[in-house]
Symmetry: C2
Subunit: 331 residues, 2 copies
């Protein structure tokens, strides 16, 4: 306590309280969270972020628990982020998860955190990606991102992980069960949990049919892993599949890598936040928004013209190219 290392220093030495505090700052969109993220970013990219999504009742939480325990057995440190988009209909699952996770959380090499939606500005997807960056910079080897819900938000979150796992269970739906087109693109690994149930063969066949219909541009063929997480069955095979995909993706040329697409998406999401906040702060005097909204509510104005008018208060700076990418040699 004599010297006071900065929050960033403490994150980099994996002080769990510093990690927790940084994530809280990110969730609350604290003023200094941007600077913290800038400072830690060069230290990221070492850990492997594993996104796990799937239908409700697929046993994702048990699976994450067992995966974390297996990684611990292999000597890896583990960060876990459970994403709860606060759906008013998701019920009490989270609390149960938290209690179960306490078994893991007595291990200092395991960090567990749940994240939920906050307000309108900000956004859960952004906060989750940033929290993964904090765990990564803190040196957690494997970062498991588990989504509780099943909406587009969760798919977006899982897409930004290094490895995306889609969890299914036998006999869930009627036909081709729950797999729509979008999910095929994001799954690096398919996992059939509760694989001791009837219908597992059929579920696997359905996945194979879907895989044959679509080919990935990188040539990766997603494996199908069977587990019974509650009985700890298939977990080493799950780890093996993850590590194999990790080895594969590291061989990909960076220009064509998913990383670049993820980075592009991320820059745009950050931009969206920044320009809106700036506009609200600098170009919309206090009270004016409410006044305009009253005009819209009473149909004296239309919201489209109002938004156009406010958006028109910004202009692009002349000569912005000077500050642009140094590789940009346009006049």
């Amino acid at each position: 306590m004599t010297a006071t290392p900065s929050l960033v220093d403490r994150i980099l030495t994996r002080d769990p309280r510093a990690v927790a505090r940084a994530i809280s700052k990110i969730e609350n969109d604290a003023l200094d969270s941007n600077e913290i993220l800038k400072s830690i970013y060069p230290h990221t990219g070492r850990g492997l972020a594993i996104g796990i999504t799937g239908a409700p009742g697929a046993g994702k939480s048990s699976l994450v628990d067992k995966l974390a325990l297996e990684y611990r057995r292999l000597g890896r440190s583990v960060g876990i982020i459970a994403v709860d988009p606060s759906s008013p209909f998701s019920g009490g699952a989270i609390l149960g998860d938290r209690i179960r996770m306490q078994l893991l959380s007595s291990d200092p090499e395991v960090f567990i955190r749940s994240m939920a939606t906050r307000g309108n500005l900000g956004g859960l997807a952004r906060a989750t990606v940033d929290a993964v960056a904090v765990l990564d910079a803190a040196g957690y080897d494997r970062i498991l991102v588990e989504t509780v819900g099943v909406g587009q938000d969760e798919v977006d979150i899982v897409k930004t992980a290094d490895v995306s796992v889609v969890v299914l269970v036998p006999g869930m739906g009627d036909d081709i069960q729950a797999i729509k087109a979008g999910i095929m693109e994001i799954a690096d690994i398919f996992l059939i949990n509760k694989a001791d149930r009837e219908g597992v063969e059929r579920t696997e066949r359905e996945i194979i049919v879907l895989l044959e219909m679509s080919e990935r541009s990188d040539g990766w063929r997603p494996p199908i892993v069977r587990t019974v997480a509650t009985q700890n069955k298939g977990i080493p095979e799950f780890v093996e599949a993850i590590e194999q995909y990790d080895a594969f993706r590291r061989q990909q040329p960076s220009s064509s890598s998913r990383q670049t697409g993820v980075a592009e998406h991320r820059i745009i999401e950050l931009l969206r936040d920044r320009v809106l906040k700036r506009l609200l702060r600098e170009a919309l005097p206090a009270g004016e928004l409410r006044q305009l909204a009253e005009g819209v509510a009473s149909r004296q104005r239309d919201p489209y013209s109002v938004a156009d008018e406010i958006a028109d208060r910004i202009q692009i700076k002349p000569g912005f190219h000077d500050k642009g990418s140094p590789n940009d040699v346009e006049p």
Copy 2:
């Protein structure tokens, strides 16, 4: 076919093809959709938008069908928007719905449309609100917005309706079933569907307990309606509850009304879209985003600084107040 009335004129005379075309333009973010929306906006506010959300399996689609039929019996025209956020796990419900809805769609006084998520720019919530505006301008008396999924997006959509209905079923969850804090604020009406099932008393008691814990600022006490939609039971009572709330909300002072809050939210969402699009179009030369993303992916740059740098290419115009609200008399 001699004169060619504009799309807007045709919307205002409730030409279903014009209505459908305008909604497609909104979904696809067509160049002229903004102008169409501006033109029709003064003609909105006559119809009543009824948002219906609830847990999966609560029978929302049957309920919407029966509600539509009841409104038809009462001589009201009905627009229906089924919102499907394209969750990759939502299964095949939509198709079934569409088939069932064809029974209704032979009625020229009924317009049915489903809407799904598209890409990143745009946003389902915005498109849904705009589609409601089209149906409203077209003179549909009652506009039913049914959400298929259960995420935050859907809650956001239902919140912007004039009347929000939350659908529950008996015995769905363990304890206080599916009701979290957020949902209490958005429900103007609670509906227990499948009310012939065991546990209906308990579900109602739980809602009452929750209602007693929270008081609405407008003093409205949400009624609890019981229905068995498949047997057409309780539907007139449901209509009665909707109409009573509509009468109540029309008496509220406009300054404190939810309408103003909704309008505020809407202006901000439109702004978010506009400023980002403009920035991408005017301040980010082709290829530069990808180049920056590659730098971020390889950790040469961090995405936060990149976003700051791009955001810094805009500036607030001096003297924007001149173009501001005419009521704004600041120097």
